[in-house]
Structure formats: C-alpha cells, structure tokens
C-alpha cells in the first residue's frame, strides 16, 4: 500500500527537522489531509507506527487537519463542495473533476519536547 511510502517520507521530513534543531522527542505531527486525497487515515497511522519504531518520532501521534474537497463546476461556473474526486453537481448535473482543494498531504507543524 502506498501509505507505507508516505509514512517513510513523513519520517524523513521530521528527521530533517531534528537534524536542524535538537529536541527530546516528537509528540504530535499535524498533517493537512485533503478529503479527496487517495490516502486512508487508518492505513497511514498504522504504517507510520511501524516505520517510526526506534526513531525520534517513535511516540509521535499523527493529528490530521481535514481539508474538505472543492471543485469548479463548469455548469454553474462556481466552486462547489465535493466528497469524491469525480462528482456530479447536485444543481446542474455536470461531472466535475477540476479540483480546487482537497488534494493536500502537507505536514504543517509538529509539537516537540
């Protein structure tokens, strides 16, 4: 599953931060996760637990900041909320795939001590 690759990259990013400024441990990693992103939260949490064993992030919790999906509707000429990557507009019935936001996987901050 690709969540393993993503967990590995999350660990690399936080370890790069540790190399720049020392701390005892990472407590929480705040991650913006778009609703439309093809990432399963549970799979990411699980794989991160495995990947982070023995590292500075061993005890870190992943805290998700949910970003709802928005797409541009060509029929209505406005942004609409969407729950899926390809959605049918409830107003005009046009299928939208022009995603404005909801595709994020972004490490925002981390709490350390």
């Amino acid at each position: 599953m690709h969540e393993m690759s993503l967990s590995k990259r999350i660990l690399e990013i936080v370890e790069e931060q540790y190399a720049r400024q020392k701390f005892e441990r990472i407590k929480i990693i705040y991650i913006e996760l778009g609703e439309l992103m093809a990432v399963d939260k549970q799979a990411l949490l699980f794989s991160f637990t495995i990947i982070a064993k023995g590292s500075i992030a061993e005890e870190a919790k992943l805290q998700f900041i949910d970003i709802p999906g928005e797409a541009w509707c060509e029929g209505c000429h406005k942004a609409i909320q969407v729950k899926r990557y390809i959605s049918q507009c409830e107003t005009c019935g046009v299928f939208s795939s022009n995603i404005i936001c909801g595709n994020e996987l972004h490490i925002k901050t981390m709490e350390v001590e």
Binding site: A38, P68, Y85, H106, T109
Partner: protein, 246 residues
C-alpha cells in the same frame, strides 16, 4: 488561521482540527510546512528536464496486473524500431521475468524490483535513466507495477501516462478507479479479441472514461492478435514528432 497548528478561524471551508487543543503557546511547536509528495514531484521535474534535454519521449504505462502491458511492448517495439530507438524500464515487486521477455526484442531494458513497494517512484526512475542510452530518436517505455491505485499518486516525470484496461476486467473500471483514469492521457482497451466471450460494453466503458476525464484519448486493440496495433503505432509516432518540434 492559527499559524501554529493550522486550525481555521476564517471563512475558508477548512474545518477545525477534530481533537480539541489549546492555544497556550508555551508548547514547543516547530513550523514544518512541507508537502509529503514534494520530494517525488521534484525528482519527477528533474526527470522531465532530463528527457527534454535528451529529446526523448517518455511514457508511463499503468494498469492492473495481467492487462497485457508487457505483451503490448513485445508487439509494438519491432514496429517502432526501424525509425526509433526504444528503451524500456520494467517495474515489478520481484523477478526479472518481464525484462527477459523484453530482452528478446533487443531493446535496452532495465528491471526495477520494488520489493514491498507497490509502485515506481521518480527517484527510482532517475537512477534508472542514467543507465539507459537515450537520445532524440528514443522512445522510453516505463512499465509500472501492476496496480490501478497507487501509481496514480506518483509522477515519474513522463510526457504521457497510458492506462491499459483489458476486456476481461469489467467495463466499469474507469468509475471505480477515477484517480488513475483521470490522470491518464490515453486509455488502451486491450484483448478485444476476447469480446465475444465476455460481458463487456465497450461504448459504456469509453463513456465512463470520458466522464472521469473528458480529454482522455481512447484506443482499442488486441496485442496478441496485433489487431488495431497500427493505431497505437500511429499515436506514438504522432506524439514523437510533436515532441521533437517542441
């Protein structure tokens, strides 16, 4: 928006962090602000620049396992060879079986074994392309790991992404795997020689693909019977010529 932990206090649709938290800024917080996929995107951009510099046309072939990617390559390489120099990167979890098949076409081929990973990434491709002879006559095929989900997330630096679907898989796959079909430039429907034996509606499948991706191009063929392969040959030549002019 709180610049410390990212919770929203403006009119944007971003929801607040689901777990209650305090705003006592005596906690030690480090701003990271990094996209998890940015590193892969950077490697992909480097690959893209490398291909542009070598004037090579690079194609990423994606599909579920068993759709006929390797057979398609075995059949198309001899048709392209006089005019173009073909090189191949094969991606599988294990074995060199696909490399051995492509070896018989005499095209230079490199096998990447991804082990536990379910997709190729741009870093792997970056290392592989250094070992292949690429120039302005080249067409590079990257046969990705058979998987209709994960490869969609990882840009390899290719010029075009081709999704291959076979008639034995079901005509509703574009709807079920939207990320993959949305991210593809061309869909090849393979194994059309088996249509009399399966319950597959070609028109419906193409309709679904266009619904997911209005600009996707569509071809149908049989690699084993070499029926319709000339259409793909024509598409490749056309893309190569357009690519050369850029």
């Amino acid at each position: 928006m709180c610049g410390i932990c990212g919770c929203a206090d403006n009119t944007h649709l971003v929801k607040e962090v689901s777990v209650p938290h305090s705003h006592h800024h005596d906690r030690k917080l480090i701003q990271v602000e990094q996209d998890v996929l940015a590193q892969n995107d950077n490697y992909a951009a480097e690959n893209r620049a490398y291909f542009a510099n070598k004037k090579t046309l690079a194609l990423n072939l994606v599909s579920s396992p068993g759709s006929g990617k390797t057979t398609l390559l075995e059949k198309i390489i001899p048709l392209l060879r006089p005019q173009f120099q073909v090189a191949v990167i094969e991606g599988d979890q294990q074995t060199e079986l696909d490399k051995e098949r492509i070896d018989k076409t005499n095209a230079p081929v490199l096998q990447i074994n991804t082990g536990k990973m379910c997709h190729l990434d741009a870093h792997m491709i970056g290392h592989a392309i250094e070992k292949l002879p690429l120039n302005e006559q080249s067409i590079l095929f990257i046969e990705n790991v058979g998987n209709l989900v994960c490869p969609a997330m990882f840009d390899l630096g290719e010029n075009y992404r081709i999704v291959i679907l076979s008639v034995t898989e079901g005509d509703d796959k574009p709807l079920k795997y939207p990320y993959m079909f949305h991210g593809a430039d061309l869909m090849i429907l393979n194994k059309i020689d088996l249509l009399p034996y399966v319950d597959f509606d070609v028109e419906k499948c193409f309709q679904y693909a266009k619904q997911i991706n209005p600009t996707i191009e569509l071809l149908s063929l049989s690699a084993t019977k070499m029926d319709g392969l000339d259409q793909w040959q024509h598409w490749l030549k056309n893309k190569k010529c357009t690519h050369k002019k850029e």
